[in-house]
Symmetry: C2
Subunit: 352 residues, 2 copies
């Protein structure tokens, strides 16, 4: 349980974002997390951010009581347990919001987000965080910490929203010759647009009524923006696809309406990838039976995609960090949450 | 709309099975169906049978009012429309219970059961039936009508239960190295066992409490029979799979209990294929999200599999006709329904 002898001295305390109750976000000074087990590392965060899913408790749709927040992260390893084999102090790393051992059958099959021995982390909206199962969870960025703040934002996006949008696009079977529709114009939906296009989709359709989001969707490769929702929106998709529906649909919201719209927009035999954290959704068995679509979703296995995503970012092929429409210092986290809650910003990066 | 000049004279009337009301099955003499459109054929049935799904209306779980029954068929083409290109009078054919044009994008993608221009047929529990979209729907058996009644039963099974079980196994991603669990020990579930094994599954588990069905499951290749149901049954599957759950599960019933059991028996990242006609099933979105399985089901695209199934039957690799535990003359259809309703027989073949 001892830390490596070369570990630099860490400050005894640090700043961290806490959600005391719905709508009540503050920055507190708390004890700096330290390595607690042989497979742990401590990371000094380079940047953090607020996730769309953080808004569920913020809005009272999920219970919350003095919770330290944040699950997206990039940073430098500043302390490591004696059992960590593949990473060194000073490595600049990206991890997923789900920690995985990388060795169980579920991880090996490509679903580290459902690892049989999943680990835990401390909140990433902070100066430091502890990450268990570091070997299985973290991916080293070959070039180290970037000087370019836009590149840093790209890496940070890979930790969750890009990886999640990527999973939605993979589950929607995006590829050459395919028309992919995306339900949800938040950071994940926009990332799904980018992913579908990067995976070779012929045509990407997004449902959006917000000009700023539609504009970013177009920048990410969306060919068509549909303002209609529900059955009307699905009818528009069918109009654009010879009456058949999209080959694949990404559901990036998590509501009943978004799931219904996604299923209705997909052709029989098509693929629906759903990555919006499900809230009060039910799916009628007979409806699903008669639609005969492939349905796959859940917490995105981001770790599976990270090496490829890092390569694509390093090659300049994708710029997922464009989802961050605002940067604020960590101390202004309350405003970051407010801006996202009020949909003034798509996603806010917190400078640590 | 004229029929081919070489069509033999058909009798003006024929016998056909009718369900007058739940539980009330009779054989009536009605007008023989004739070619009505250029793409139609009329088939003289070689054999017909009762489907598990026929029991839903029989038991009053689905409305029924004087309906001519039957959707599984093998027989000889005795009349054809002028537009039929790929089939000849005298051809011995198998078709799916869903008629498909074979040319729309949905058919081309392998989902003829959801053909954009689906056709209709008259009931197959009869001496003759009309089949629309013959070119897209029917597959000629190279060797013609078999003398061997067991081979005939194999072909008949391919028309629905085998094709449906096959789809369940394909959707469950059955293949080498995989453990596949099957929920449902009716003819479709048993066919799914056969299919999973034929597709190379390493281990096939079936849930069954009926010794006759379990025995046939073993004959079809089941390695393990589990008597427990629900969460207990799922726990048994996990015990057998290192705690992970099956790689794939076939759901061949259509009830809430069977779907819940199927989902609970599958590992994260695994595949659930559901082919039981859905009755009052709902799936909780969050539960599905957290299970993170692939879910695919619906009316089986039997036409996709038929050429392969016929080859495997002709090669003697599979004997799906073993699901027919009883043969009765068409005139005794009422007893056939009763025997299946009371689960005295797995599936009854009607000799036409």
């Amino acid at each position: 349980m001892s830390t490596a002898p070369t570990a630099p001295a860490l400050p005894a305390t640090m700043r961290a974002v806490v959600m005391k109750a719905p709508g009540d976000v503050a920055v507190e000074t708390i004890e700096t997390p330290r390595v607690a087990g042989p497979g742990d590392v401590v990371i000094k965060l380079a940047a953090a951010c607020v996730c769309g899913s953080d808004l569920w408790p913020y809005r009272g749709a999920q219970p919350v009581d003095h919770q330290y927040m944040g699950h997206e992260y990039v940073g430098t390893i500043v302390e490591k347990g004696e059992g960590v084999r593949s990473l060194e102090l000073g490595d600049f790393v990206i991890g997923s919001f789900m920690l995985s051992d990388g060795t169980c059958e579920i991880c090996q099959a490509g679903y580290p987000s459902r690892c049989a021995n999943a680990g835990h982390y401390t909140g990433s909206q902070a100066e430091y965080m502890r990450v268990e199962l570091a070997d299985g969870s973290l991916v080293k960025v070959p070039g180290g910490e970037p000087d370019d703040p836009e590149r840093l934002a790209d890496y940070l996006a890979a930790s969750d929203v890009l990886g999640t949008g990527w999973y939605a696009a993979v589950a929607a079977n995006a590829g050459p010759g395919k028309t992919i529709a995306v339900v949800g114009d938040g950071a994940v939906g926009l990332s799904a647009v980018l992913a579908a296009k990067a995976l070779g989709a012929e045509r990407v359709i997004i449902f959006s009524r917000h000009e700023d989001r539609a504009a970013l969707a177009r920048e990410f490769g969306a060919d068509v923006v549909i303002a209609e929702r529900g059955e009307e929106g699905a009818a528009k998709v069918k109009e654009l696809t010879g009456g058949y529906g999209a080959h694949g649909v990404c559901e990036a919201v998590g509501s009943q309406e978004s799931m219904d719209q996604a299923l209705a927009s997909c052709r029989p035999g098509g693929y629906v990838g759903f990555v919006g954290v499900s809230h009060d959704q039910t799916i009628d068995g007979l409806d699903l039976f008669l639609r005969e679509v492939h349905l796959e979703g859940g917490p995105a296995p981001v770790r599976r995609f990270l090496p490829d995503l890092i390569k694509r970012i390093d090659a300049g092929e994708i710029h997922p960090g464009r989802v961050f429409t605002k940067r604020l210092p960590l101390d202004e986290a309350a405003e970051a949450y407010k801006a996202m809650d009020e949909r003034r910003e798509i996603k806010v990066l917190l400078e640590v």
